[in-house]
Symmetry: C2
Subunit: 392 residues, 2 copies
């Protein structure tokens, strides 16, 4: 049930004609309180879409009553007309729900450089407002959350949802979309997480940054960073419970991690889900730097597609980083087979089985005692096909 799992939230997903397919393309989530705390993480891309520019203004007071999301167009590089479209969409939601437009987040995803049709958006907002469901009938609430999760899909093949319920009586639920452009600092990734925990915007912000830093930020499917990424966390306080900061952060991280792996599993054209784990690094940031460098090597990723345990391509990528290590004291394992020890060949590469979808690359830097994992995918014919035909 994802975004409606927590008390105090209503959701809907409708079709308003933005997608050529006629599929669901507008999602609306309302926070009916009693509180309206929120936190967000936006793309770190300097080229930011109009909905990101708008939503940053909304977040100035940490109060959010609703979030509206559309697929079928990113509304990025669409100039002042595009910004007016975002603004008018928020106003339409505000009118329908009798809240302030300044408390309405907007997210968009799809092709860059095309204007969205405001009339369709307004019609979609009207439909969605009338369809908002939650808190009452469980089946209807589930269906509404699913429709919302479907409405934000672009090249995704399945909706992504996750929930966590604490024994203390509070719940976290989330939905996500994203199948390409998955890279650091998020990437064509829209995530809405709701909770009925009673937390302030500052408490939510701290937990959200802790959680995204080790989950969404470490999913690097294709090295490309989107202009529209937004992860939002809305709290209704409807449970009446204020969890401990560590408890809440751990639960939020679990939900984010679940959604991250769902995004990885649905990455455009991927044949393999690759976890690149760097151990014994001098620092966590260096572990991430090394893992990310490997995750961005097209040669490594193509080799994985070819089921080829080409560990030289791992070390060639490691060598491009500034992390502390001795090139002749690195170990590399593919799916548990240590093919390189201290910079020399160890087990025969023929022992490695890259048939399963899940691939685990372990890189031991022997330079410290911290570790990190970055998740990526292989580079496949289907990736090239899907991304050579996306806008046509």
């Amino acid at each position: 049930m994802s975004v409606t799992a927590a008390n105090g939230f209503l959701a809907a997903g409708v079709a308003c004609g933005l997608k050529n397919s006629g599929g669901l393309d507008l999602a609306l989530v309302q926070n009916v309180g009693p509180i309206a705390s929120a936190a967000t993480v936006f793309t770190s891309n300097r080229c930011q879409a109009n909905p990101v520019l708008w939503s940053k203004q909304v977040m100035s007071d940490g109060q959010v009553r609703a979030i509206v999301l559309n697929s079928g167009g990113a509304n990025c590089y669409t100039g002042s007309q595009g910004f007016q479209t975002t603004h008018a969409t928020a106003e339409a939601v505000a009118d329908a729900l009798e809240v302030s437009a300044g408390d309405v987040l907007v997210c968009s995803t799809g092709l860059i450089g095309e204007q969205l049709d405001l009339a369709k958006l307004r019609a979609g907002v009207a439909d969605a407002s009338g369809a908002l469901t939650g808190d009452s009938d469980a089946a209807a609430s589930d269906a509404a959350a699913l429709a919302a999760a479907q409405a934000i899909m672009t090249t995704d093949t399945t909706p992504k949802q996750s929930t966590f319920t604490s024994q203390e009586g509070w719940t976290i639920g989330g939905m996500a979309k994203g199948a390409g452009m998955l890279a650091p600092g998020l990437a064509t990734m829209l995530v809405v997480i709701t909770t009925d925990a009673a937390l302030s915007p500052a408490e939510l912000d701290a937990a959200l940054r802790r959680a995204t830093a080790v989950t969404f930020d470490r999913l690097d499917s294709d090295g490309c960073m989107s202009t529209n990424d937004t992860v939002s966390l809305l709290a209704s306080g409807a449970s009446g419970v204020t969890p401990g900061a560590d408890d809440f952060a751990a639960a939020l991280t679990a939900v984010c991690q679940d959604l991250t792996l769902q995004l990885q599993a649905d990455a455009e054209g991927a044949d393999h889900d690759v976890a690149i784990e760097v151990v014994n690094a001098a620092s966590e940031s260096e572990a991430v730097e090394v893992a990310r460098a490997v995750s961005r090597s097209n040669l490594f990723k193509a080799a994985i597609f070819g089921k080829d345990p080409n560990w030289g391509r791992v070390l060639a990528a490691v060598g491009t980083t500034q992390a502390a290590f001795d090139p002749y004291n690195i170990d590399v394992s593919f799916n548990g087979v240590q093919v390189c020890t201290a910079g020399e060949p160890d087990q025969p590469r023929e022992l490695v089985d890259l048939t399963p979808r899940a691939v685990h690359i372990l890189i031991d830097l022997h330079a410290g005692d911290t570790r990190a994992t970055v998740w990526t995918n292989d580079l496949t014919h289907d990736y090239v096909h899907e991304n050579s035909a996306y806008s046509s």
Copy 2:
């Protein structure tokens, strides 16, 4: 005739069984003087192959009498045994040519993590030493240079050669190999350039760094950096002419540029040769940073393969850089059609014809008055195919 075009150089290319195909796989170039000045640029990858480690020692005095190059194996991550193989290869050349092993550069290219067969290398050196040709018969000299250029090919489909002759009577000739892993600071790229100009090691070094910085360093075919890259420049002084520094650097840059574009044209699986030109940048390094970010966007590269002028992917990549620009004052043209002006859609993308192999992307940052071009290729099915099957 490339490496034998300048007086004072002999070359040979032979087959010694390192390549499974039985093709030419060992090249030898000898500088017969009167001088033996040399300069080199090596990979900036921290994981460096044994021949790179060896050759760096050779360069400590700037004197080089011969260079031996093999395909069929990179001799990287092969430990002390691998280093001994490189050392023994240099010794074999030294014995055959009656020079010091400390004046013999060694280059290797091929798969990482496999030992080279020293017996085959020794037999190849013996054959090549006996076959060395140059300075005498023009046709035989051409054939020897061509054989050397063929012997260093891996996935290259054609040998790459270039020459320049000055009216002052000095000549530069070069050969290159490289078809994948073409990225900054060079990449699975081996280049040997010879000249009969009379120049000191320091003069050669200055000219070589000027030339590579604007040519090989700006070829970024797939973002992957090799462990073996070596560009070497050998001077025999046989012309007796010492050219002016600017004249020599300009000629050397022209030869390097010619070889760079030959490498781009033969990049693994590429359908398009893409020149990404950034103009009106605040500095040359920022222009390069922006162009390189675009050259590394898999989404952009896949779109070019699909003949899709998806300029949003250009701007999304530009936005990941730290260069000075206003995201809403950038212009983008594809093959002369300005599809984005001041961050908004301009000419319809349908006007862009991406049918030709040559693609020109022009990005105007409106932030200064410097420019730079980075050359790359599209991301194709054939690239994935070739790189998923390379080592198997």
